[in-house]
Amino acid sequence: MLTIENLNASYGEMQVLRNISLAISAREIVSVVGSNGAGKSTMLKAISGIIKSSGTISFNGAPVSNLPPHLIVQRGIVHVPEGRKIFSEMTVVENLMMGGYLHQKEIKKNMERVLTIFPRLAERKKQLGGTMSGGEQQMLAIGRGLMGNPKLLLLDEPSLGLSPLFTDVVFSAIGEINTLGVTVLLVEQNVYQSLKISHRAYVIETGSIVLTGTGSELLNNQKVKTAFLGM
């Protein structure tokens, strides 16, 4: 579904991504794990067109590298950015409506889907986004992304700063979203939880992919264990 070949990206003089190549098939959950500053978020930003990159990114066979972000969203790649970035002065429903920008006719249907996945949001429809807890905001951000009818959902650190309880809720929601037919590319520092729900995973270090395998293979890999899981 998504194929990336020799992706390079830099911030000014500093090269952040070096020859990243990866592939995601339809209906998979693929996670990219790695420490802070490894280039995980940069990779997602390059895919969704927020930053410029070199190399080829193709989606369902068509090249999408360096297209403006709004055209990439139209192809079905929706990016849920790190730090949630919900619209704090808008209510829950308004935030979700914003997510339905490209699919106005299906807003009602999509909104029902989101509210079923996140019942918590259904309870707080009229609340202002900025007044919700971090976990609720994360649900809202993912829900807002789902309103865009994604074929591929890019999730950037969805568990960042969440309590263990909300982390579980968010990870189980990701699984549920995947069973609805949405392919998920997950970028995480919470290595254990993300490997557990992923079909396949890549380990990224200082801008390069150093290891790849299925979720369970990597969970049992000695290097992953010592580097990320403290075992």
């Binding site: 929706v78 950015p81 914003m98």
Partner: protein, 331 residues
């Protein structure tokens, strides 16, 4: 519906005001300036307040409207009404060229570039002959069938009409989808882009609306004063007064810019005519012959920009959302 009704009712009251004042050209003149600044700040607010794109060069659009109408009238004797239309077209061309280049950039580039564009327009006008150069353009006779343009009342109603239209557009934008997209862009540009909103297109729409309205006001001003030069209609000072009016009143609100104009224009007028200085003397607080009294008499008249500055600082420190918040109990 409520804001629309409020706007119409307020507009109707304002339309009846000249009947109460009667024939008092001075008061009418001050009110015209209030209406003009309120409309300018409201038009700026569509771009600066709703979309969060701070333009520091709105004088460019004001001046473009003023100059286009004046040049057409002066050189080719073209009626002001088509002249106003031509002004809108010219302002939109400048806005489109600026916007399509600058809105691609991130951060505060638009603000900086808007100053540059305004200065380019000003220097161009200053150095061409057909624009009157540094001498400006003076038109002694404006004729428009059926209207007595030697009276101030037509301009009062003209400015009021543009203000009401601007407020109606603002009120509509706040409740429309476009308004929500602009708000999303203001709150978080990346998040808005990640939802598929064409950021530069929406910014350009806001800029075009804002620039068109500003240009009409420039045309009206030119017909009203009948003399324009770059200092009057293209100066950076004008751009800044527009911004300050909106900020002090309340950026991003419907009535804030109007409130700002209601406060600042009469204040500037009081300073200019030295009513304030005289009042201090009359109240016995300052002696007319004391050094302070002399200083006030000589300098207070030029001090309105300084006073704007002080009010702005106070507002930013204590009322960052503008004076309008004082009139609301919550939010």
């Amino acid at each position: 519906m409520k804001p629309f009704i409020t706007i119409i009712i307020t507009g109707t009251f304002a339309a009846l005001l000249p009947l109460l004042i009667g024939d008092n050209p001075y008061i009418t003149g001050v009110l015209i300036t209030v209406l003009m600044m309120a409309a300018l700040a409201s038009a700026w607010n569509i771009l600066g307040g709703f979309a969060g794109q701070f333009s520091f060069g709105h004088a460019a659009y004001f001046g473009t409207g003023a100059y286009t109408t004046m040049i057409l009238l002066y050189q080719w004797n073209i009626n002001p009404i088509p002249g106003i239309m031509a002004g809108i077209v010219a302002a939109c061309i400048i806005a489109l060229v600026t916007g399509s280049i600058v809105f691609r950039l991130r951060g505060h580039y638009f603000g900086l570039a808007s100053i540059a564009v305004a200065e380019i327009v000003r220097l161009t006008v200053l150095n061409f002959e057909f624009t009157g150069g540094a001498q400006g353009i003076l038109v002694t006779d404006v004729a428009l069938s059926g209207l007595d343009l030697n009276s101030k009342n037509p301009f009062y109603y003209g400015m009021l009409l543009v203000l009401v239209i601007t407020l109606l557009i603002s009120a509509y934008l706040r409740t429309s989808k476009t308004g929500f997209y602009l708000q999303a862009i203001r709150e978080d540009q990346d998040a808005a882009a990640s939802l598929g909103i064409n950021i530069s297109q929406y910014k350009n729409r806001a800029l075009l609306i804002s620039a068109s309205l500003t240009s009409v006001l420039g045309s009206l001003y030119a017909m009203y004063i009948r003399f324009i030069d770059t200092n009057a209609v293209l100066d950076l000072r004008l751009s800044i007064e527009i911004i300050l009016t909106a900020i002090i009143g309340g950026v991003g609100t419907l009535w804030g810019p109007v409130l700002g104009a209601l406060l600042l224009v009469p204040l500037a007028e009081m300073l200019r005519t030295n009513i304030l200085g005289d009042a201090l003397v009359k109240a016995g607080l300052v002696s007319e012959t004391s050094p302070i009294g002399i200083f006030l008499k000589e300098n207070l008249a030029h001090a309105h920009v300084l006073v704007y500055g002080i009010i702005t600082v106070v507002c930013i420190l204590y009322l960052p959302k503008g004076i309008l918040v004082l009139f609301r109990r919550h939010k």
